[in-house]
């Protein structure tokens, strides 16, 4: 059975992928459910979908031997089953239990993912206990089933799941009329046609079940009996779904069905109209067990031979495989550079004809490589909107806990970002949003007193700006009290003197380790992470975070991150004999200057660049390189910028541009300031890549 074991091991990965998906979806659906519970307007499909999520998770976890997940989701499923079968009413007291179970499930699944074995037995037991507390002793569901009045065929009744039966009863109880819709589609196209009809029906009422059945032209056609409940009059919807192959019959305890001995109808609406609807094309007796054969629209195989295709046009790929591919592309790009270099060298050494041909071939190869690189890059891109969904769940959950009313608005959900960056940005964003609700948005009472809308707004917008993506998180809360930050920083001993700090500098204090303005660490924001971690996490993906705040009016966090980290174009520069690479994404321009262009203001070197004064940073002093013979008479200044910040890096020479695959330096060198990684140049040389964001921060700091 070792084969089986190996298979199971491989399958754990599958399990995780799907379990995470289910848990994610459960989260957003539960949030929707909470909203519906508020409005006491329940969508049975949503409830059923949540139930199915818990049910699938239970099945999966059981199969893969994750007993705690299995047990918890089993209990959650029970509770949801009661809800969907109407044995329990959804009220606000149930939501916390569901949220709690979901949170624990998320934690358990994450434990599996991280291979950890943290023991959550107590939490699970507590959670299960609170679930069971909600389950009152089961009451017998109504004995005599009103279903019999519908005159449903045995075949139809027999294929209804318990849930579908319940939905049917619910529909009757709500006074909806039940219709049986018979359809017959060609085997080659039934999927699209059925989907069309189903989608249409869902806009007019509830689709209860779809039973495929054998019709008259079994070889070419497949028939379906759809059970459908609606309050609409037939005239309002039947014409919409009408087509050759569709036939609608009303079901119910009305004069027409020829069945005898029906029980008294306790729930049916007082409808007097005949149960057959005039617009139907082919009338059919609802109670007949076997439908008469329907005319076949066309002989088999006459047309439309396709439709073996899968409905979904997407492929799921492990990001690791894409990384590998990206690496190969990177190596190819490097190989291409060496070929180009050889071509150039050959030309100078006078192998003229062949060298020109080689140069041409290399150029063609280069173009294809650019396409390939772009293609692989695009695969990695996902819309930021995926992140938004996660955030909306968090906002709903936290605002509920805090008793604050928050509306979330999104802009630019289709802005695309590297998948890995989206993953890495999610935690810092979550933290910023938590802060915004916790510290920013005021309570509804206070907001009203201040003359604001009692509902606070958090707006997340994202847009592309050159090779960067900007994500802004903006709230209309109370803003950040700068004086309080200053006093807090003094009190905590983070700074000695706040007298000459500008507002912007004071705001930056909240990113210092050990800073937290709230005296009581709340459950929401204070999870042991401060804003310093937020800044570090963003810096780790070469991003920057900025704050703007207006007291009383709100705060805006501006996160600027590169679109991708995989392959970047760099400017190679030299400085006293050493070479470094600067990501072109952060280079704005480069200037050729001489010594007399530099002025010194407050012991800092600056140059006048158009209307502004640009601070300079010498690479040799920054890295402490011992320069034998001073700065050359002519030198270059590379103007770099991230977000709104600008800095001129003084270098000796510009050597050219190149695509590189940036590699991390490993943890041993993490503390090196100013370096974000290393790269292979393709000719056996390696080069250090400058961390522009970090250098700008350093320069601004040492400026004071």
């Amino acid at each position: 059975m070792s084969d089986l074991n190996a298979a199971a091991n491989k399958a754990v990965k599958d399990f995780l992928a799907e379990a995470e998906e289910i848990v994610d979806q459960l989260g957003s659906e539960l949030a929707d459910l909470a909203d519906m519970a508020d409005r006491s307007d329940l969508n049975p499909d949503l409830l059923n979908s949540i139930f199915r999520g818990a049910h699938s998770l239970k099945g999966l976890a059981g199969m893969f031997g994750f007993n705690d997940i299995c047990e918890l989701s089993h209990n959650m499923e029970n509770l949801l089953d009661w809800l969907r079968l109407g044995r329990l009413n959804l009220d606000q007291s149930l939501m916390p239990v569901l949220f709690q179970s979901h949170e624990l499930l998320t934690l358990l699944v994450r434990n599996v993912a991280e291979g950890g074995s943290a023991d959550q037995a107590e939490e699970i037991a507590a959670c299960i206990a609170s679930i069971n507390a909600c389950l009152a002793p089961p009451e017998k569901s109504g004995g005599g089933s009103p279903l019999s009045q519908l005159g449903l065929s045995e075949a139809m009744l027999g294929a209804l799941t318990e849930y579908e039966e319940h939905r049917l009863l619910e529909n009757l109880a709500k006074g909806r009329r039940i219709y049986s819709i018979h359809t017959s589609f060609k085997l080659t196209t039934f999927d699209q046609e059925l989907a069309q009809v189903s989608d249409l029906l869902k806009t007019y009422g509830e689709l209860i079940s779809t039973l495929p059945r054998v019709g008259g032209n079994m070889e070419t056609n497949i028939d379906f009996d759809i059970l459908f409940g609606t309050t609409l009059k037939p005239e309002e919807w039947v014409p919409m779904i009408e087509r050759d192959s569709v036939c609608v019959t009303a079901l119910g305890a009305f004069p027409s069905p020829p069945q005898a001995g029906l029980p008294e109808p306790p729930v049916s609406p007082p409808l007097q109209q005949p149960s057959r609807i005039p617009v139907v094309k082919h009338e059919r007796d609802a109670s007949a067990a076997i439908p008469p054969p329907l005319p076949s629209p066309a002989p088999a195989g006459a047309e439309e031979p396709q439709s073996a295709k899968s409905m979904s046009r997407t492929v799921r790929v492990d990001i690791g495989k894409l990384d590998e591919l990206m690496n190969i592309v990177g190596e190819l790009v490097l190989a291409h550079s060496s070929i180009s270099a050889i071509a150039t060298k050959m030309r100078t050494e006078a192998f003229s004809r062949i060298s020109i041909e080689l140069g041409k071939a290399a150029k063609g190869l280069g173009r294809r490589l650019t396409d390939l690189q772009k293609g692989v890059m695009e695969i990695r891109m996902i819309p930021v909107g995926q992140l938004y969904e996660k955030m909306s769940r968090i906002v709903r959950k936290i605002s509920r806990e805090q008793g604050k009313k928050v509306e979330l608005k999104f802009n630019g959900a289709d802005t695309e970002l590297d998948k890995l960056i989206v993953e890495d940005i999610s935690d810092p964003m979550m933290h910023i949003i938590r802060n915004a609700i916790d510290h920013g948005i005021e309570t509804p009472e206070l907001r009203e007193a201040l003359g604001k809308d009692e509902k606070g707004t958090i707006r997340i917008s994202s847009y592309q700006k050159g090779n960067h993506v900007v994500i802004e998180v903006e709230d209309d809360g109370g803003g950040i009290d700068i004086e309080r930050i200053k006093s807090k920083a003094l009190q905590k001993g983070l700074v000695q003197d706040v007298g000459d700090l500008s507002d912007k500098e004071a705001l930056d204090l909240i990113f210092m380790p050990g800073f937290s303005t709230n005296d009581e660490v709340s459950e929401v924001s204070g999870r042991g992470v401060g804003m310093d971690v937020v800044r570090n996490n963003i810096a780790a993906i070469s991003g920057m975070v900025d704050i703007e705040t207006v007291k009383g009016a709100g705060t805006r966090f501006i996160i600027t991150i590169p679109i991708t980290l995989a392959i970047i174009k760099v400017l190679i520069i030299s400085c006293s004999g050493r070479t470094y690479a600067i990501p072109v994404t952060s280079v704005l321009e480069s200037l050729l200057l001489t010594g007399k262009d530099i002025r010194t203001v407050e012991r800092k070197e600056v140059i006048q660049l158009r209307e502004t004064t640009l601070p300079l940073l010498s690479l040799d002093t920054f890295f402490g390189i011992d320069r034998r013979q001073g700065r050359p008479g002519e030198f270059y200044v590379v103007v770099v910028g991230v977000a709104e910040k600008r800095l001129g890096i003084v270098v000796d020479d510009l050597l050219g541009q190149q695509d590189i695959v940036i590699k991390s330096m490993g943890s041993a060198f993490r503390r090196f300031r100013g370096i974000s990684g290393a790269a292979d140049l393709g000719d056996q040389r390696t080069i250090l890549v400058l961390d522009v964001g970090g250098m700008i921060n350093e320069a601004m700091k040492s400026g004071n």
Binding site: E18, E162, L211
Partner: protein, 125 residues
């Protein structure tokens, strides 16, 4: 013995992957997968299916509806059907048996039990 074709209908991707590798290790067969009754219906005319393993709770067309159709269609009437469902769905499993499913296993199942069933129904004359 010819290689048999087994159709697995389950809406969970991981569960299908798990079932596929389990079944492949138990008997010599070819496997086609469907993520709901709907896809199963689409696959049936194309594939010469010798046995069906189906879940009950699936979106769109559920396992019961699938079984009911198969048992009423002379072309598929004889194909053995084994329900694979989670515990707690006993009512639905019973309905499936009534509709004509040959047997059932409850998840998490014992591979030996599944193998026994597979061999029994695949080798039926």
């Amino acid at each position: 013995m010819n290689t048999k074709t087994i159709l697995i209908a389950d809406d969970s991707r991981a569960m299908r992957a798990m079932l596929t590798s389990t079944v492949e290790s138990l008997v010599d067969c070819r496997i086609v997968e469907a993520s709901n009754g709907f896809e199963a219906l689409r696959l049936l005319p194309r594939e010469n299916v010798d046995l069906i393993l189906t879940d009950i709770n699936m979106p769109d067309i559920n396992g019961l509806e699938l079984i009911s159709y198969l048992r009423n269609n002379p072309n598929y009437k004889e194909i053995p059907i084994i329900i694979i469902s989670t515990e707690g769905s006993q009512k639905d499993i019973d309905k499936g048996r009534l509709l004509g499913a040959n047997d059932y296993v409850v998840k998490p199942f014992d591979p030996a039990r599944l193998q026994e069933l597979l061999l029994k129904y695949l080798n039926r004359p």
